[in-house]
Amino acid sequence: MRPDRKRHLLGLSLVVVAVAMLVAWQVPGLAAAAPQDDHGGHGEHAAGGDHGGHHGRVIAPPLHPDPVPVKTWPPALILIVGAVLLPLVPVRPLRALIAIGLPAYALTVIWGLPDGARLVVPIAGHELHVLEADRLSLVFGKIFALVGVIAGVYAFHNGDRRQQVASLLYNAGALGVTFAGDYFTLYAFWELMAVSSVILIWARDRADSQRAGRRYILVHLVGGAVLLFGIFLHVQSSGSILIDRFAPGTGGLAAWSILLGFCLNAAVPPLGPWLPDAYPRATVTGAIFCSALTTKTAVYTLLRVFPGWEVLAVAGVIMALYGVVYAVLANDIRELLAYHIISQVGYMVAGVGIGTTMALNGAAAHAVCHILYKALLFMGAGAVIQTTGREKLTELGGFWHRQKLIFGLYMIGAFSISGFPLWNGFVSKSMVVSAAGHVHWDWAFLLLMLASVGTFLHTGLKLPYGTWMGEDRGIQPRRAPANMVVAMAIGAFFCTLLGLAPGLLYQYLPYAVDWDPYTAPHVIEAVQLLLFTFFAFWVFVPMLHGEPTISMDTDVLYRKSAGWARALFVTSVGRLFDASEVAVRALARKVQEALGNPVRLVPGLRALPGADGERYDVDGSRLPLTVPISLLLLAFLLVWAVSRWS
C-alpha cells in the first residue's frame, strides 16, 4: 500500500474511533447515571424546569403564541422589492444609503411585530404562512436585519450593483426563512439564500472564487434537494405543510432528510467543508453577510424543528472541536475565521441537542452574539485585505502600529468570541456550556470548555499575532475607508453593550432567563482558563506561524473525484458521441455508395449496356423506346379489359 494511502487510512480510522468512543461513552450513559438532585448546574442559578424527569433533562415546551393577524408587508418582501428597484438608482452613494436603509426599515417593521403575528396568503389551494412571529423568530429576525445594516455600512464605499442586490436578496432569504410558518415558504427562501449568496463569492472576479462559487452552489443545491425530499415526505405523511417540531427520534426518513438539509447549511461535519472553501474567497464586504446569515438561519431552523435531538448535542461538540483543529492549520486569515464559525455554531447545535429552556435560550443568545462578533472579526480581516492586498499569515505581520484602530476593534471581537468577562461571548457561550452542566452531560461540558480554549488561542492570539504583530514585513497599509471603521465600531459597541448589560439581550430570548454569568466562581474560571491559555500560546508560538499549505477537508471527496466524475460523465460520453458520429458517417457513406447507381442492385438490369457504372447514368441506363411503348399499350389494354368486364 502506498504510504500516502496508509496515512489516510490511519487518520480516518483514528477519527472514526474517536467519534465512536464519544458516542458510545456518552449519550445515554452518563446522563442516565446522573444524579437527579438539584445542586448540579454550573452557575448559581438553575433555570427552572431543567432538573428531574427523563435523563434529568426536560425539553423546553414549544412556543405557540396566540395568533394575531397582521396586514403588514413581510420583512423579506420589503428587501426583495428594494433589491429589484435598487439597480435603477443612478447615484452611487444614494444606492449605498438605500442598501443600508432597507434592512433598517425591515428592522423597524420586525420591532413592531407582536408576538404571534401571522399573515396567511392563500395560493393554489394552499394557505402559505408567509409571516409567523414568535419570540424565537423575532429575536433572529432582529439580529439578521441589524447585521444587514452593519454590513451595509461596511459596504458603503462599494458601488457594485451586483453585490448590493445580492446582499439584499440574501438578507431577504434569511428573514423569509426566519418568519416562514410553512415548509414551502421556508424552502423558497432557503434557495433564495443559496443563489444570492453565491453572487457575493463570484463577485470577487478571481478564478479561484469562480471555482469555489461553483462548488458552493452545487453543494447547496444538493442540500436543498435533500431538504425538499424530506418536506415532500413529511407533507405526504402528515398532510400538513406547516412547520412544527419533531419530537426527538420521531418522523422517520422525512425528519432525517429535513435534518440533513438543515445540517448542511449549519456546516455540521462532514457536511460543512463548503464554508471554509467559499467564505475566504468571497468579496471583502460580501463575506460579512455570509458569516452572519447562512449558518445562523440553519441554527434557527434546528431550534424550531429539532430541539432535544441528542444526536445534535454530539454533533455540536464534535463541530466545536473540529473547527479548532483546522484553525491551527489555517494560513488564510478568513479561512481561520471560517473554521471558527463552524466551531462556534457547534455550541449552538449542541444547545439545540440539549434542548432544555436554558440550552435553547443559550443557543439563540449565542447566535445573536456570534453574528455580532463574527461580523466584527470578518470586518477586521476584510479591512486587512482591503488595505494590504494580502490575506495569508505567511505574508502578513508587523504593522499593528500602522493600523491601531482596526487592530483594537478586531481585538474587541476577539475578546467577545473568546468569552472574556465584560464581552457578549462570555454571557452567551456560558449559557450553552452551563446548560450541558445542568443536565450533567459532563463530557459535553468539558469538551466545550476545551473548544473555548482553542477559540481564544486562534481568534484571540494566533490570528492577531500573525496578522498585525510578529515579524515586520514592512507592510504599509493604505487608509481603510471610513465607513469600514464605523461599521466595525458599531459591531464592537454591540459586543460590549450586550456583555456589560446582558439583560438587554435576555428580554428578547425565547424563554424567561434566570442566569447570571457574573458570579465570582464563573469569572475566576474564565480568568484562569484564558490566562493560562495565553501562557501556553506564548510558549508554543513558534509552532503557530502560518505555513504555506492547505488543509484537506471532506470536500476532498468531491474535489479530487472531479477528475473521475468528468471521465465518467463528460469525457466518456463525449467519446461515445464521437464514435457514434464516425459510425453513422461511415454507414451513410456506404448507403450513398450503394445507392449511387440503384440500377446496379437489380441483377437483370445490370446487364444493360452502360448500367454498371459507379453513378447512375441517364443515357447508359435508359431502356429502349419499345419498352415504355409496350408497357403503355399493355396498360391501355388492361384498362379496356377491366372496363368491358364490369
Partner: protein, 83 residues
C-alpha cells in the same frame, strides 16, 4: 513533527508568575468555591485545563496536519492566486 518552543524571557517569567499566582489565589481570596463535578476539587483546575488544553490542541492538530491533513497549495491542481 518537531516540537518548537519559545522560552519566556525573565520579564515574561515575572509577568507569568505574578498574574498566574494571582489568578490561582483568587478563589481562596474571594472564597468562591463551587461543586459541579470532580474538577472543582482539583486546585487551579481551569488554569491546568487552559494551559495543558492549549498545548494538547496545538500538538495534536499539528500532528494530524503533518501526518494527514496538510497538503501543498496546488493539491487540487489549481493555484489560489489565479486571477
Amino acid at each position: 513533527m518537531k516540537l518548537k518552543l519559545r522560552w519566556p524571557s525573565s520579564r515574561g517569567w515575572l509577568f507569568a508568575a505574578v498574574t498566574g499566582v494571582a489568578a490561582l489565589a483568587l478563589p481562596y481570596v474571594l472564597d468562591a468555591h463551587v461543586d459541579h463535578g470532580f474538577w472543582d476539587h482539583v486546585p487551579g483546575w481551569w488554569a491546568w485545563y487552559g494551559g495543558l488544553g492549549c498545548a494538547v490542541i496545538v500538538v495534536v492538530s499539528k500532528a494530524l496536519g503533518k501526518a494527514w491533513l496538510q497538503k501543498p497549495e496546488d493539491f487540487y491542481g489549481e493555484s489560489d492566486d489565479a486571477s
